[in-house]
């Protein structure tokens, strides 16, 4: 176990394609729901406790050694929006490329072979963490953090928001991320004993709806 690997994996510069995605922030900015640091914080908080919890638990379960193909199906079942399923697989495929170069493993190769067009990103993230020798809770932290760091970075670009304020939003969410990651790891542990139905299925319907609309915009800055 090599904890510092978490820093590498969670680094916003880890080259896995995330920079082109806003995590739903672009449509929220267009609709006026995100317009300053306070509304960004509200958006991120909502995302963390819904999509974030679900992604974190999937990642923790994959890091804990649960079958990634079954987890991939569980992720599909928890992602009602076809646009977001496509995005999750695209990002999963891109992360897989980076993961196989950084922490190569037979398990990553096997998932890449079984899902050449990409498995859901949180599942790949969990398996990447596992290949890097990280624990399920580390994977949960990483997945949970990504669900809020993505929109915060995007908001800086979309609104020319003060980057210090945007980063402060993330810092203030840290205690909540602790709780979400802890809960996700706990539920992943339960899923190992009781089956995948123990994984959370929290979702944010507005994110699903706006993601569908956003996918049809002719001009946009972010891919999702």
């Amino acid at each position: 176990m090599n904890r510092a690997a978490l820093l590498v994996l969670a680094d916003g510069r880890f080259p896995a394609g995330g920079h082109a995605h806003s995590g739903g922030a672009e449509p929220a900015v267009r609709a006026g729901r995100i317009h300053d640091a306070r509304s960004l914080a509200a958006f991120c908080r909502g995302r963390l406790h819904t999509t974030g919890l679900t992604a974190a638990a999937l990642a923790a379960a994959a890091a804990g050694g649960l079958d990634p193909l079954e987890l991939d199906e569980a992720a599909d079942a928890r992602t009602p929006s076809p646009a977001l399923r496509a995005t999750a697989r695209k990002l999963g495929r891109q992360l897989m490329r980076a993961a196989r170069a950084t922490w190569p493993s037979g398990e990553l190769d096997a998932l890449a072979a079984a899902r050449p067009r990409g498995a859901h990103q949180p599942v790949v993230l969990g398996l990447t963490a596992r290949s890097a020798g990280l624990a399920p809770e580390d994977a949960a932290y990483c997945a949970g953090y990504e669900t809020v760091s993505g929109p915060a970075t995007a908001a800086v670009r979309l609104l020319s928001l003060d980057p210090f304020e945007a980063t402060a939003v993330l810092a203030r969410l840290a205690p909540e991320l602790d709780r979400v990651a802890g809960r996700a790891a706990e539920l992943a542990g339960r899923a190992a004993r009781e089956g995948l139905d123990a994984l959370p299925a929290a979702s944010a319907p507005l994110l699903d709806i706006t993601a569908e609309a956003h996918a049809g915009w002719p001009v946009r800055l972010f891919a999702s």
Binding site: P15, P82, R97, A101, R117, G118, A119, R220
Partner: protein, 225 residues
């Protein structure tokens, strides 16, 4: 079952020069440079001259639209399945240099769909003079500037002008109208680039892209040798 995609062979990991079957993969050439200098026009002209001889594909990286891909489609320089647009989150330089995963995916998809390919042209939506392509994405890069952007751009240098494998100075037909001194641009480019080649082009003329075509074919010959 997962819901919405089909299966094919496992994906390659990185920028390996060989395909999984051991053959040499397509040569990948990047085209960068400021907005409006003629990158898309160069790509279109290269496609028109080379498409009957080579198996070609194009990846575009736009800033926030798919205009470059749409231009190429509208002008039918290649069949649509040979053109892929990558979305860059408003940062084409990130997508071509710091995080090339979406571009590599596009390259891989093109090889899967219409391969084996001989040559893939990767255009970057221009945003500044410092944007260069990662060596993990392309094997060689062309930096396109134009005479109308000011004849002091070669003198100012920057990574694109200084280090690109080929510097194209385009729109020479406009030089008289904008008062650009081509001799000075050539001298400044030489100063910045030493022995690296420079091509002056005017894409409005008959076979105006010729110097670039010749360079690309020479690279391709070296690649497949």
């Amino acid at each position: 079952m997962h819901l919405d995609h089909s299966h094919s062979g496992p994906a390659a990991v990185s920028a390996d020069a060989l395909r999984p079957d051991g053959r040499r993969r397509a040569l990948r050439i990047g085209l960068g440079g400021p907005v409006g200098s003629g990158k898309t026009a160069t790509v279109a002209a290269l496609c028109r001259t080379l498409r009957d001889r080579l198996s070609l594909a194009v990846v575009t990286n736009d800033i926030y639209t798919r205009e470059d891909a749409e231009f190429l489609l509208r002008h039918a320089v290649l069949p649509p399945e040979r053109i892929q647009a990558v979305e860059t989150g408003a940062c084409p330089h990130t997508a071509i240099r710091d995080d090339i995963s979406a571009n590599l995916e596009a390259v891989e998809d093109l090889e899967d769909a219409v391969g084996p390919l001989d040559l893939i042209l990767v255009e970057s939506g221009g945003d500044n003079l410092t944007a260069t392509f990662s060596k993990g994405l392309v094997d060689a890069q062309i930096f396109v500037i134009d005479v109308a952007g000011g004849d002091d751009i070669p003198r100012k240098g920057g990574p694109g002008v200084t280090t690109a494998d080929l510097l194209v100075i385009n729109k020479t037909d406009l030089a008289p109208y904008v008062g650009s001194d081509l001799g000075r641009m050539a001298r400044d480019a030489k100063e910045q680039r030493g022995e690296l080649p420079v091509a002056f082009t005017s894409l409005t003329g008959e076979d105006g892209v010729r110097p670039v075509t010749d360079w690309v074919l020479a690279r391709l010959a070296a690649w497949t040798a």
